[in-house]
Assembly symmetry: C2
Homo-oligomer: 138 residues x 2
């Protein structure tokens, strides 16, 4: 556990959202200006292998890293890129897929997209609450 690795992990945890490698790099650089982007990539890789952070791969977007390691899905806004975590019951889907394909299903990856409350102009107290758990991916 080097200083670099500790700082990277702290930064991903502090943000709470879904950071790209470069975003992590820019943030860590503030306290450790000599760190290199390669080191950030290598450490994000190690940390996700050991299960301390989660690798989030949204279609057509860079890899992102999340301190919330509980498996979960995402909704992405097509207008502003904002991303929100959601939880969905999958068991029935997995069974259905196994039945159709004959595969033993071990994992699923689900991403929704649409228009977020803010872009729809319907920012109400209840949607504002959801917005708090949200990350903007431009």
């Amino acid at each position: 556990m080097t200083r670099q690795r500790r700082l990277i992990l702290e930064e991903v945890r502090r943000c709470g959202g879904h950071l790209t490698a470069d975003e992590v790099y820019q943030r860590v650089r503030k306290s450790l200006p000599t760190i290199s982007l390669g080191t950030v990539y290598r450490n994000l890789d190690v940390l996700s292998r050991t299960g301390e952070i989660l690798r989030v791969q949204l279609a057509g977007d860079q890899m992102r890293f999340d301190a919330n390691t509980r498996p979960h899905s995402h909704v992405r806004c097509r207008e502003c890129g904002r991303v929100c975590d959601v939880e969905v019951e999958f068991q029935i889907l997995d069974e259905r897929v196994a039945q159709q394909s004959g595969y033993e299903v071990l994992e699923h990856r689900l991403e929704f997209s649409g228009i977020c409350p803010r872009c729809r102009g319907v920012e109400t107290p209840s949607t504002a609450e959801a917005d708090a758990r949200t990350t903007r991916h431009l």
Copy 2:
């Protein structure tokens, strides 16, 4: 509609599976050796915009193109990379996500992964049938 575009569309349709741009390029080159990869990319882009083919984006894999334009999901085998189409009922999921996030959900993208029948060594007549609808992505 140029010769290039027609040949590219034919090739995607003939294969039936999920081809990468480079795979399309290699195949079309057999009948039109002077075609360039850039042209293939540009035409795959046009054809997917006009809805004649489908852009398939599996996590951590290159973009692929599919003649089956009906929206559908995929199971990918972790052992051999084989990919099979599946259809799943999403309406309930979309509603759940909209409720949780406040987003207006327009689209979802779902990918399953696990072990395919062949890799599990349980190739039976019924799984062989599913295997026929399958594409291998190495």
